[in-house]
Symmetry: C2
Subunit: 226 residues, 2 copies
Amino acid sequence: MKIGVIGTGMVGQSISARLSGLGHDVMIGTRDVARTLARSEPDAFGNPPFKAWHAKHAGVKLGTLREAASHGEFIVNATHGVGSVETLKAAGEENLRGKILIDIANPLDFSRGMPPSLAVSNTDSLGEQIQRAFPDVKVVKTLNTVNAFLQVNPELVAGGDHTIFMSGNDTGAKAKVGELLQSFGWRHVIDLGDITTARGTEMILPLWVRLMGALGTPMFGIKVVQ
Amino acid sequence: MKIGVIGTGMVGQSISARLSGLGHDVMIGTRDVARTLARSEPDAFGNPPFKAWHAKHAGVKLGTLREAASHGEFIVNATHGVGSVETLKAAGEENLRGKILIDIANPLDFSRGMPPSLAVSNTDSLGEQIQRAFPDVKVVKTLNTVNAFLQVNPELVAGGDHTIFMSGNDTGAKAKVGELLQSFGWRHVIDLGDITTARGTEMILPLWVRLMGALGTPMFGIKVVQ
């Protein structure tokens, strides 16, 4: 399948590599291709520059935001949450229309220091903001409750025996995203309901951040048990 | 141990019965004892009136808010979150001073309809509000991420193999609360850190409410897996 990934950070890199490894035709999109490739320093989190990653994943195409959005039948939003709507607009509404958009982003607000708070929460969510901004796009919020590595390789903890959530208004879109999640190794997927349920999974982030501190690792999942 | 439980709803009833069954000397406190005993109709959630419950749990003493707070060496806040600070003030600051207060309440706001939102979240929490209102009380937030039955009987789902969280500024108080949790059957307790980490567990409520809808039951827990 042709997939356009918007965002070249860790989340974009991780899901692009995985999708490409699964045989999909992936293009990763960035605002300025030349500038993205010119970076030679690690990012703010200490991750190697994009070109070092891309050298190891040459099968993933690199393009502008518009090119990646146009390329994909499926779109993945792997941008920073606080800038997602603006970045997706820069990718071109006409390139997104009618498509399924997997929204992995979290609206983390680092402006007040650590730990981050949420830029939108409680009575609204980033997932809903994106759905309102692009009413013709089928937004499915998922994967935002685990880190970039676990998102696409749930087996990395507890043999994959933990839970991932989905929120979205379109049942058919969620079924297709569910297949993709299954191909990553997710066996326990809970469909929470419409896109307003994204409030719940985005609002788990403050707990996630504190758990990372308490456990001393970002490599953990949560399993819903009955 | 002498324990004062503030709040006569399902959460107050459930933890009072369990603590009494474990041999503790429990007094449950209410604003107006006569009125609480006079109720003969089920509450808004369809639960039987307090006196029906109390007839089956005669070992639990009933008193005013002030009497229950004064009775307890340990205090449990089992009130509705939006009214917790005011109700605890009515119990008398002098009756709480220096004591450990287990805060189970969630600041659920039903004023905008269902599902509820949170009256405080993101950059503050109910746990912090209570700690600020009563600086001499050792507030430990816990048990607020599962329902009233599971709080005191974690074995009711998955053989008790799920996680409960604790937040609080006082390490000694958390150690004592940890022993109480263990006596309920909790084997997997995570100390998230100071009382600001209560934001994380209170903010899980929107996910909890949607999970209850998706699963069709409130009898579920979440297990942190590594």
